[in-house]
């Protein structure tokens, strides 16, 4: 019976970034489970040929065919791997952008998910890969891990996220107890006056979640750095400005090969703040197909930017009209006119005049950038602890999906199921929510029972 029910098994494939923090020179993403080889095929185009052989591969986004990175792939075949399952390791450049992209691709595959803390170890226990002594050592590690998580959770509780998630928990619980009260007791004659407004209530909760998800984007700035795009027509001196910036008050951390064909990206620290500096292809009406793609990517990059430095020169007097690119209010713009050694007439206040040739105006440009960086980082500082981790982001995304499904459902017990799932997801951050919590709420608020 129950032949509807395919997709059995929690035997899902798990993955995690398992080489500490990024950015770093090399990052390792480890995938374990029955779909590891499929993951390898999706990202590199091929399944590995032999186990325990290092292969040099291009990592490509299967959805867009975009080149992501070039790195190493190793297959540890089951049952001889650490977990006893097929394991694939990707050794990539340890850039956040690369890791993020790979995460997104892996998460889009059915039955593949981010590993829970300690899950690789757990799987290796289950498959009898570790002996007692090895395990005892690992227990300490896992306890420590738990402590770090706990500290982290406590830290979160002190900040905005703690308040928000607590607020969220209370709201979801209140809603659930209302629904459960109706399910358990409505025919006993309890009357729920507020019951009609279920969807309104869920909307107000969705709003909070959406805020959190949006703020996640902001907090990425803290983690990944502010994106500064240098744009302008070809040959106005964009590259020389980049060179100036990277050579002055900056230290290069990594030099990532362009994630797209025509954008050169440099990660650096500017006045102590992490920054991703992008040199885009020149913007003009493209003549051929290849160039057209380059221009389109530049436009995409412009849209993602936190700060745009729009460069023109004396000879081509019209700056790029940024209004045509739908730039959000969050993006700051500095207009720069290069080659100002060739002019006399500095008549516009909102334009910074520089000369890459004589270094004229660079002080002013740098201090301008500094002011903008400071304000951007202060803006997000309050929200700094807002889900800065991919895992948290995934959890909130899960909650958001549950709430969307909640609204679509008509059957009360399925609405309850969606809410429970949402609350369960939240529990991964705030700790478990018990049935008893819900019942407490229920009995306190409704006069129940014949």
């Amino acid at each position: 019976m129950g032949s509807f029910l395919k997709n059995f098994g929690n035997n899902s494939t798990i993955f995690a970034f398992s080489s500490g923090s990024v950015p770093s020179g090399v990052g390792i993403i480890r995938i374990s489970g029955p779909l590891s080889l499929k993951c390898a095929k999706i990202i590199t185009g091929d399944e590995p040929k032999k186990p325990r052989i290092v292969e040099l591969k291009n990592f490509v986004n299967p959805n867009t065919n975009d080149y992501i990175d070039r790195g190493l792939m190793i297959w540890f075949n089951k049952p001889n791997s650490f977990t006893g399952e097929d394991i694939i390791e990707f050794h990539t450049h340890g850039s956040m952008a690369v890791v993020d992209l790979l995460y997104e691709i892996l998460l889009s595959i059915d039955n593949v998910r981010i590993a829970e803390p300690g899950e690789f170890t757990r799987r290796s226990f289950e498959n009898n890969k570790l002996n007692l002594e090895q395990v005892e050592g690992l227990v300490d590690v896992i306890n420590a891990e738990t402590k770090i998580q706990l500290d982290h959770a406590n830290k979160l509780l002190l900040g905005n996220l703690g308040e928000l998630t607590e607020n969220l928990r209370v709201k979801l619980l209140a809603l659930l107890s209302e629904i459960e009260a109706a399910i358990e007791f409505e025919d006993d004659g309890i009357v729920l006056d507020t019951f009609k407004n279920l969807n309104l209530k869920i909307d107000s909760i969705s709003e909070i979640i959406n805020d959190i998800l949006v703020n996640y984007q902001n907090s990425q700035i803290i983690r990944d750095g502010l994106i500064i795009s240098i744009i302008g027509p070809p040959n106005v001196g964009k590259s020389s400005i980049i060179n100036r910036l990277t050579n002055s008050d900056v230290s290069i951390i990594t030099n990532i090969p362009g994630t797209t064909r025509d954008i050169v990206e440099v990660k650096l620290k500017l006045f102590g703040y992490p920054v991703l500096l992008r040199d885009t292809a020149g913007l003009r009406h493209a003549q051929d197909v290849v160039e057209k793609i380059g221009v389109e990517k530049s436009i995409e990059s412009i849209k993602q930017s936190d700060l745009i430095i729009s460069v023109t020169d004396n000879e081509l007097d019209l700056p790029i009209d940024l209004n045509t690119y739908n730039i959000t209010d969050n993006t700051s713009i500095i207009e720069v006119q290069n080659k100002s050694d060739l002019i006399r007439d500095f008549n516009k206040n909102d334009i910074i005049y520089i000369s890459a040739k004589t270094n004229f105006g660079f002080e002013k440009l740098l201090s301008h950038i500094k002011i903008i960086l400071e304000s951007k980082f202060n803006q997000t500082k309050n929200k700094m602890y807002l889900i800065s981790r991919k895992r948290h982001h995934e959890i909130f995304q899960e909650i958001s999906n549950s709430l969307i499904s909640f609204k679509k459902q008509t059957e009360l017990e399925l609405k309850a199921e969606d809410l429970r799932f949402g609350i369960q997801s939240l529990g991964k951050i705030t700790g478990r929510v018990d049935v008893e919590d819900m019942l407490d709420k229920l009995f306190n608020e409704f006069c129940i029972g014949k």
Partner: protein, 624 residues
């Protein structure tokens, strides 16, 4: 007294709902069983409301029935009104419920038990358990007789140190007019069982003739009744109606003015009562903003002139009860036949039990029912069944009968009790189950009857009926998975589903929104040949399809942890790397599985990891 055997496999003490199921289940399992009760006449007595089932409780009855227990069949036999709760909601949360005739129920239950092979019933009062080497071997009756057995099931309900409160009056006893088992209570305390105290209450009973029904709302039963037992095919009695009335400001005024005389409020009772079944004093106080509360007038039987006013349980003095009741519409001239009362009683902290309901402290001693801190006939019956079968299995080595959380509400009930204990009388709610969509009343037989068959507790008749039913449902699912149609063809019947060229099975189609089986009969006429219960299963699978997948995944994860058994003789202190605090928690709870260990409050992932690997490795070693 005629010559009686003095040696049995199983002795069951108590003839309440737990005792009946325990005795019958034990006998069904083939153990020679002895049921000891104060009086055969009180076997199967419904001491509180004249109803069985409801949301959550109806689930338990269907599960008891699927395991061939008695409560479903007997309550159908005594049913005088069928009313399924949550009828308008989805299948997972519907709760079959009946009003039952007390006399018919009791008589039928006694009749079945008196005619059960392997089962003898003795009238008597147990004053002591015979316990040797920490193992229960029998009982001593108040006449001095000793009866021996391999195991003993104690189902003494509220009889352990029960005290009845009516206003300021106190009476020692388990039910009005019956004795309380204080000696047995003392003995159990002497064995150092942790004992707690709970309270519960019951409303006054009213004389039906003295009620004026003319202006009250009538509540009729369902036109097409849903039976409690899978075996029942028709209603057995004429069907009656209930009536609905309400308290009002005057009622509340009288209650508030006399609240100091209520046993609950005058300091006589401090123990916890059920929050979901509050006394009228509680309701008036805690929900002061409500100016009325519902009162359901439920007949106690076809030929009974007594009405059970559901909703006004109270421990106010009798004269006050009469006063406030007479403010209620329809009850102006009402006569009370028996006043409402509150009862305080001892319960055994159920965390001292294993999932077989055997005590961890004394071997072969089982506790079941209200004595474990639960409330309700259904909760008691469910425990009785589990304890009865396991008591019977004590004669065999290493056999036990355990239902887990993923299989049934019975499993949820027992796991909640033994893992978390109780702080108020425990009642089943569907929200207590993680797998609510799977654990439904409609599929209790699918979930449990085969398990029952494997454990030899199902009668031949039920086995053959179930096998037939199962075959038909399987045929329907096969048919619905194997018969496909292209979207193009399908849309020719007036539908408009997405055209992706992929063949869709009947199952696929049903999981699309707004498509039901009725619409498919003219495409596949054979569907109409299947009985309603099979079609129902198909439709439910479709409604819940995406969600059921998720719950099945959860269950698989759960089973994985549950399948790792922790040996009973494990020495926690020998597990490396875990703190003393963790060792203490484990010692106290003695979890049977890794899953159970993970449900102990405060257990850390590190501790679980260590426990996991320790057990895995020692299992591994013991194989050689």
């Amino acid at each position: 007294m005629s010559k009686r055997k003095i040696n049995y496999d199983v002795i069951v003490i108590g003839g309440g709902h737990a005792g009946c199921e325990a005795a019958h289940a034990s006998a069904r399992r083939g153990a020679s069983t002895c049921l000891i009760t104060h009086s055969i006449k009180t076997i199967g007595l419904m001491s509180c409301n004249p109803a069985f089932g409801g949301v959550g409780k109806g689930h338990l009855i269907r599960e008891i029935d699927a395991l061939d227990g008695l409560m479903g069949i007997v309550s159908d036999f005594a049913a005088i009104q069928y009313r399924e709760l949550n009828r308008s909601r989805g299948p997972a949360v519907r709760g079959p419920r009946v009003q039952a005739d007390r006399e018919i129920y009791k008589a039928k239950m006694q009749n079945i038990l008196l005619n059960t092979s392997n089962l003898e019933i003795i009238e008597g009062s147990v004053i002591n358990l015979i316990i040797k080497n920490n193992c229960a071997n029998g009982v001593i009756l108040n006449n001095g007789n000793e009866i021996f057995s391999t195991s003993v099931v104690l189902t003494t309900g509220t009889f352990l140190s029960g005290i009845i409160h009516i206003g300021n009056k106190k009476v020692v006893g388990g039910r009005v007019g019956e004795k309380s088992e204080t000696e047995l209570s003392k003995q159990i305390k002497n064995f150092d069982f942790i004992i707690g105290r709970l309270k519960t209450g019951t409303p006054p009973r009213l004389l039906s003739k003295s009620i004026n029904y003319s202006n009250l709302d009538k509540q009729e039963g369902d036109i097409s009744p849903k039976f409690m037992s899978f075996l029942t095919t028709k209603t057995q009695n004429p069907q009656i109606s209930c009536y609905l009335t309400r308290t009002n400001i005057n009622t509340h005024h009288i209650i508030n003015n006399n609240i100091h005389n209520s046993a609950i409020y005058n300091g006589n009772i401090n123990s916890s009562g059920p929050r979901y079944c509050p006394s009228i004093e509680d309701k008036v106080n805690r929900f002061a903003h409500k100016d009325n509360h519902q009162v359901f007038l439920e007949p106690e039987g076809l030929n009974s002139n007594i009405i059970y006013p559901n909703g006004i349980s109270t421990s106010l003095p009798q004269d006050v009860q009469e006063k406030f009741i007479r403010t209620i519409p329809g009850l102006e001239d009402c006569k009370i036949t028996q006043p409402g009362y509150a009862i305080e009683y001892d319960f055994i902290d159920p965390t001292q039990l294993k999932s077989t309901l055997e005590t961890k402290k004394i071997k072969s001693l089982f506790f079941a029912g209200q004595i474990n801190g639960t409330t309700g006939y259904e909760e008691a019956g469910a425990q009785g069944l589990i304890a009865g079968v396991n008591a019977a299995l004590k004669s065999y080595k290493n056999k036990s009968f355990i239902i887990d959380r993923s299989q049934a509400y019975i499993g949820v009930l027992i796991d909640d009790l033994i893992m978390a204990g109780v702080s108020e009388p425990y009642r089943m709610f569907t929200s207590r189950s993680e797998y609510r969509l799977l654990l439904r009343t409609d599929n209790a037989d699918d979930r449990l009857t085969d398990i029952g068959i494997r454990n030899s507790i199902i009668s031949k008749n039920r086995i053959s009926l179930w096998k037939k039913k199962k075959q038909i449902i399987n045929d329907l699912f096969d048919f619905s998975n194997n018969n496909t149609i292209t979207p193009n063809q399908f849309n020719k019947y007036g539908f408009s589903i997405k055209l992706n060229g992929k063949h869709k099975s009947i199952c696929d189609l049903l999981s699309l929104p707004n498509i039901n089986v009725d619409q498919l009969y003219n495409i596949w006429p054979k569907l109409a040949e299947f009985p309603k219960y099979a079609i129902e299963q198909l439709e439910i699978s479709a409604i819940y399809s995406g969600y059921l997948d998720r719950q099945l995944n959860d269950i698989e994860r759960f089973r994985k942890d549950e399948s790792l058994l922790i040996p009973e003789d494990i020495s926690y202190s020998r597990i490396g790397g875990i703190s003393n605090e963790m060792i203490e928690k484990l010692e106290l709870n003695k979890p049977r599985t890794l899953g159970a260990a993970s449900r102990i409050k405060g257990i850390t992932p590190g501790c679980l990891t260590a426990l996991f690997s320790h057990v895995k490795n020692s299992n591994h070693i013991s194989k050689f």
